[in-house]
């Protein structure tokens, strides 16, 4: 419904602006979101990025977005409409938009496309993603320091490589501090169901965990931590307002700098199809301020962030022992990106069976 209202508004605006289109032409940059911008999580953060483009590039650009776009044929239509409406660069921000983006991009060779978190590139389709696992490694170190029983509860959505990578990175970080650190994993089979996330958090706290880690989008679990006087980590956006005494840090997505850079390139005519997988060094993954922890833990976390930025600390540096006992990776070198992007195994120390 809301989508339609916004579209109706966009059409009205387009009609109004075409009447006086004698002024300098603005570059039209457009976004497609999988969720509502009101999720205060994934889509919200992309929209924060869009607003940064508007703010920094001012009247050189005009931006629009369509939210709540279902993956599949609906996405084809949404992307194609934006291309027809004169968008010069279109960001499609969900993994499931991959094929739709490629399909529409073929029909509109002059329009630039940017697809997030996928792996299919084309002449006019760039891809970008963030190394969220870097943040999770530091979170693991913090958790192992702060947790009294050495046990964290981990709330997760779906067993895709992105999520598994996060669990492993968290564990590897935690094991550097406490080799016997344990996690309890609960799959809620949803990215976004505040009720279930809160329930899972309560159950995990009930089972003895004193820290909650989540790879789901809402603030519900942190609110429970706040209520119980325990701790947790924010996801996607800084959730400190919801958990002033509970949030240790939040693993936030910062797409704005990248978006500004890419839109600028289109303005200058220097845009090329690229494959960007940026992390803390590129400022795409940002840990929000370290709070509610002793100074020595804070210092350790800050040091780790600095080392990751400098490239001297690689979360997935070999050799890594897998849950089944096999060892992968070369000493001093990170696992190759393609292995990370298809990760479907746990590291040693995780007491869960990976749903297949």
């Amino acid at each position: 419904m809301r989508k339609w209202l916004i579209m109706a508004g966009a059409v009205a605006l387009a009609a109004a602006s075409s009447a006086g289109s004698a002024q300098a032409e603005k570059l039209k940059a457009c976004w497609v979101y999988v969720g509502p911008i009101g999720d205060f999580g994934y889509s919200y953060q992309h929209d924060v990025g869009r607003k940064q483009v508007e703010k920094e590039l001012g009247d050189k650009v005009e931006t629009t977005y369509i939210e709540n776009v279902a993956e599949g044929p609906d996405a084809d239509r949404a992307i194609e409409r934006l291309a027809r409406e004169g968008c010069k660069i279109i960001f499609t921000t969900s993994f499931g938009f991959m094929d739709s983006t490629i399909k529409v991009a073929k029909k509109f060779p002059k329009v630039k496309f940017e697809h997030a978190t996928g792996y299919k590139q084309a002449k006019n389709v760039a891809i970008y993603n963030a190394r969220f696992y870097e943040g999770r490694y530091v979170m693991g170190e913090i958790a192992a320091k702060v947790s009294k029983p050495g046990l964290a509860g981990y709330i997760v959505s779906f067993p895709i490589p992105e999520v598994v990578m996060g669990i492993n990175s968290f564990m590897l970080g935690a094991q550097t501090v406490n080799p016997n650190f344990k996690i309890k994993i609960v799959w809620v089979n949803s990215w976004y169901d505040p009720g279930k996330e809160a329930d899972a958090a309560k159950v995990l706290f009930g089972q003895g965990a004193d820290i909650i880690v989540q790879h789901t989008d809402s603030t519900a679990a942190l609110q429970i931590a706040e209520e119980k006087g325990l701790h947790g980590f924010g996801q996607s956006s800084d959730m400190i307002k919801f958990a002033a005494h509970a949030q240790l840090t939040a693993n936030t997505d910062n797409w704005g700098d990248y978006y500004v850079q890419e839109v600028k390139k289109v303005l200058d005519g220097t845009w090329k199809s690229t494959n960007t997988w940026g992390g803390m060094a590129q400022n795409m993954v940002v840990l929000s301020p370290f709070t509610n922890m002793p100074d020595d833990v804070k210092k350790m976390a800050e040091d780790s962030v600095a080392k990751i930025k400098a490239g001297t600390l690689l979360p997935f540096a070999g050799p890594i022992t897998r849950q089944d006992g096999t060892v992968v990776g070369e000493a001093g070198k990170s696992l190759p990106d393609k292995d990370l992007l298809s990760m479907n195994w746990y590291v040693k120390g995780v007491d869960d069976k990976l749903p297949q």
Binding site: P36, D39, W187, G195, D199
Partner: protein
């Protein structure tokens, strides 16, 4: 730990119970309103908005009910006065509710809200296990039980209940007997709206005190299904809602214990177990047929 699990079950089951009980009354009067999810999500946003603006959780709770009633009135106007198709209108109501709530709630995203206070009787609420469970809930939880009891009593032991059921079972006869079918249905639809709105308010004021879009996450649909599987009997709705809540939470607990049942199986269990249990309870076909409101979903147009 058991205490934590039971407490979690109660909060998980309450919104389902509230919304389903309201819908049960609506359906007993012969109206099928599929817009429960929409009314619920509107209740969640209006409740949060008013509580946030005024700082009063009581006003927030009342606003949640009002939001649900307003949307229900729209449904009543379309289906009872203008005789629009109930199924289509109900579905549209859900879409409208989801869209409208996003629009209303835009400025409330990312704002933490206050949680509805829990009853705290010194001494009694501190009794281990029983204390927090029986005497440590928030007002809406107690209200939900009172609601089931009241609805059950009113439907089967009072004249009002008799009229509602008469209207739902045979609107033509009820009309001839002099009962005003349309006003009765309007009131029932509004009651359903208030309950769904309250269920939504429970989500945004007590369950997870915040507003985010689509926060009902399909609970309205589960409530709708519960009514049918409970064969329109309030006490069975209670059983169904708590069974659903229990199996959901036990699923999480089992995962936490690391029992090797795949997570996907555990998360589908609440649906399977609830349907199975309620089908077994309502296995008596004669009773089932006797309970189904005969005029469910049929429009009523008086001859004169």
């Amino acid at each position: 730990m058991l205490q934590e699990i039971v407490l979690t079950i109660i909060t998980a089951s309450t919104p389902l119970l509230l919304a389903a009980t309201g819908e049960l009354v609506v359906e007993r009067s012969g109206v099928l309103n599929l817009g429960v999810e929409g009314m619920m999500v509107i209740g969640a946003v209006t409740g949060f908005a008013v509580a946030f603006a005024t700082g009063s959780l009581l006003l927030g709770t009342l606003a949640a009910m009002t939001g649900g009633i307003l949307l229900a009135l729209l449904f009543g106007l379309l289906t009872l006065t203008f005789i629009a198709n109930q199924v289509a209108t109900g579905l549209a109501l859900t879409l409208l509710g989801l869209g409208l709530s996003g629009l209303i709630g835009e400025s409330f995203v990312g704002q933490p809200g206050a949680r509805l206070p829990k009853l705290d009787i010194p001494g009694v609420s501190d009794i281990p296990f029983i204390g927090p469970i029986l005497f440590g809930q928030d007002a809406i939880v107690y209200l939900s039980f009172a609601l089931v009891a009241t609805v059950s009593y009113a439907l089967f032991r009072t004249r009002i209940g008799l009229i509602i059921r008469a209207v739902g079972d045979n609107h033509a006869s009820a009309h001839i007997l002099g009962y005003r079918v349309i006003p009765v249905r309007y009131l029932c639809v509004m009651f359903g709206g208030a309950c769904a709105g309250l269920a939504g308010g429970y989500l945004s004021l007590a369950y997870t005190p915040q507003w985010i879009e689509n926060m009902t996450a399909g609970r309205g649909w589960i409530a709708l299904a519960l009514v049918v599987f409970a064969s329109w009997v309030p006490v069975r709705v209670l059983v169904g809602a708590y069974l659903f809540g229990t199996v959901t939470i036990l699923g999480f607990a089992l995962q936490g214990f690391g029992i090797g049942i795949p997570a996907q199986v555990l998360s589908s269990l609440p649906y399977l177990v609830t349907i199975l249990a309620l089908v077994v309870i309502s296995g008596n076909r004669v009773l089932m047929r006797a309970n189904t409101p005969a005029c469910l979903g049929q429009a009523f147009v008086p001859d004169r």
